[in-house]
């Protein structure tokens, strides 16, 4: 089943073509990775998919035929390139932001979350090994801890589709793998679909079904991740 489809997306900002005829299809339950050099347009493509930027031309379809509307926004999660955490709030309150759209508005404004949501948040804290940091301000956390908070937040949203922009960027390979292992475990458990951006070819190959290579605003190549070897990927990427 196709969960997301983009058709001929073009984006022109200030006279510069940033996305050039990008088409992309994602099957439900798949994990795809977009790779490519700095400035290729990966983040911009994600922002168009998320509705933060409007494409100049082209179409987006979610869940077999719908454009981006309020109900669909509820089930699309986003982890931006620098995580988008609220530094002055503690870990628990950052995670609860993920549940904003799952509770009545007055509850979210008063900060009165129902017990089942609090329980879910605590469970996620547990899975992501953040329980001991529950009351710490996010600004005092390490890079890896922040990534885990961002994952917990997006998971509490109960999304069907997650877009994650370089979520392991600042981590070493070991920490990256730990984070990605947890995400994959949750992906299976919650039946998620993932659209990711990675720079590390090992991570990309290990954790995705399909890799899209983006160069200069174009999707140049689509590769099944298990059908290529690492060197080929590095070559394609560095071209």
């Amino acid at each position: 089943m196709i969960i997301f489809k983009a058709e001929n997306l073009c984006l022109n900002l200030n006279g510069k073509d940033i996305l050039k005829n990008v088409s992309l299809t994602v099957e439900k339950g798949n994990a795809i990775t977009i790779m490519g050099p700095n400035g290729a347009g990966k983040t911009t493509l994600m922002r168009v998919i998320l509705g933060i930027l409007k494409p100049t031309t082209g179409k987006l379809y979610f869940f077999g035929g719908n454009g981006l509307n309020k109900e669909i926004k509820k089930v699309i999660g986003y982890i931006p390139q620098n995580l988008g955490l609220v530094n002055e709030l503690n870990v628990m309150n950052n995670i609860l932001i993920g549940a904003l759209r799952r509770v009545p508005r007055w509850r979210s404004i008063l900060g009165l979350y129902p017990n089942d949501i609090i329980d879910e948040a605590n469970e996620l804290l547990d899975v992501l090994k953040l329980s001991h940091l529950k009351n710490s301000k996010v600004k005092n956390l390490s890079g890896g801890e922040k990534q885990r908070v961002a994952i917990a937040r997006v998971l509490l949203q109960k999304p069907l589709l997650i877009l994650a922009d370089e979520m392991t960027a600042s981590l070493d390979l070991k920490a990256s793998r730990e984070i990605m292992d947890i995400l994959m475990e949750m992906k299976d458990k919650m039946n998620l679909t993932l659209i990711m951006i990675h720079h590390n070819p090992d991570i990309a190959k290990m954790y995705s079904d399909t890799i899209f290579i983006m160069v200069d605003g174009r999707l140049e190549k689509v590769i099944e991740a298990n059908a290529i070897d690492r060197d080929e990927l590095v070559r394609l990427y560095e071209r």
Binding site: I76, I79, L89, L100, I109
Partner: protein, 250 residues
């Protein structure tokens, strides 16, 4: 580049000299025999402590005026700044509130006090309102700039989820700005102590009111004690507020 800088300095000096000639400004007139400067100085230095009890009440009144005025002004400046911030408010609303804040900021507190004394009469009420109005402008301008310069990616996350403005304000804007806001409040407290000390000159309560009275009746020694009081509470408040602000940062 270096040459151009030299021209800037040169023309600045010429402007200062030209303006002084235009205004007939002569700093030497301060020590000229034909002036009363020397006599007044002497009388001021003979501080008259017989009015110490009045000074005490005037200081309390000034501190109260400053605290109430700046607190009201600060509280009102928060919604004003939220409505003025481009990233939080619809285009036209933000233009309207930016203008309101700028206008309130551009009028000095003493001018508000003159107008308010005419409206609500002599006394601290006029002073409190004058401080509050100016502080809405001063603090509103500062706060909307803080709100607008916040990291946009937390807002992106909220927008993608389809959150409302109120949710964004509660979960991103206010918490991220809170260290700046408490700093700002402490600064405003000490700032408005200094401002409200002089508002009495136009009849709006506080220390200045007595200074004006004693100066007019040529009681320089008594006025001097009130001036000394201004010096002490201004420096005292500045010290206290910067000490507290430092404490909060660390």
């Amino acid at each position: 580049m270096k040459d151009r800088l030299r021209y800037v300095w040169l023309s600045l000096i010429l402007i200062i000299i030209g303006s002084s000639i235009h205004l007939g400004f002569n700093p030497l007139s301060l020590i000229d025999d034909s002036n009363n400067g020397y006599i007044i100085m002497q009388e001021l230095l003979a501080i008259d402590f017989s009015v110490a009890d009045k000074v005490f009440y005037a200081v309390i009144e000034t501190l109260e005026m400053a605290t109430i005025g700046s607190s009201i002004g600060f509280a009102l400046s928060i919604p004003a700044a939220l409505l003025a911030a481009r990233n939080l408010s619809p285009f036209f609303i933000s233009i309207i509130f930016r203008s309101i804040v700028s206008i309130l900021w551009s009028i000095p507190p003493l001018l508000y006090a003159i107008l308010l004394v005419a409206i609500v009469g002599l006394g601290p009420t006029a002073g409190i309102l004058a401080i509050a109005l100016f502080v809405v402008g001063l603090s509103g301008k500062y706060l909307y700039e803080i709100y607008e310069s916040q990291n946009p990616s937390a807002y992106d996350v909220m927008n993608v989820m389809g959150s409302t403005r109120l949710q964004k304000v509660k979960y991103v804007t206010l918490p991220e700005a809170s260290p700046y806001m408490s700093n700002q409040y402490l600064f405003l407290l000490s700032y408005s102590v200094r401002e409200s000390a002089i508002l009495g000159l136009v009849g709006a309560g506080g220390i200045g009111f007595y200074i004006m009275q004693y100066l007019e009746s040529l009681n320089y020694g008594k006025a001097a004690l009130f001036i000394l009081a201004i010096l002490i509470i201004t420096i005292g408040m500045d010290y206290l507020s910067s000490k507290l602000r430092n404490k909060m940062v660390h």
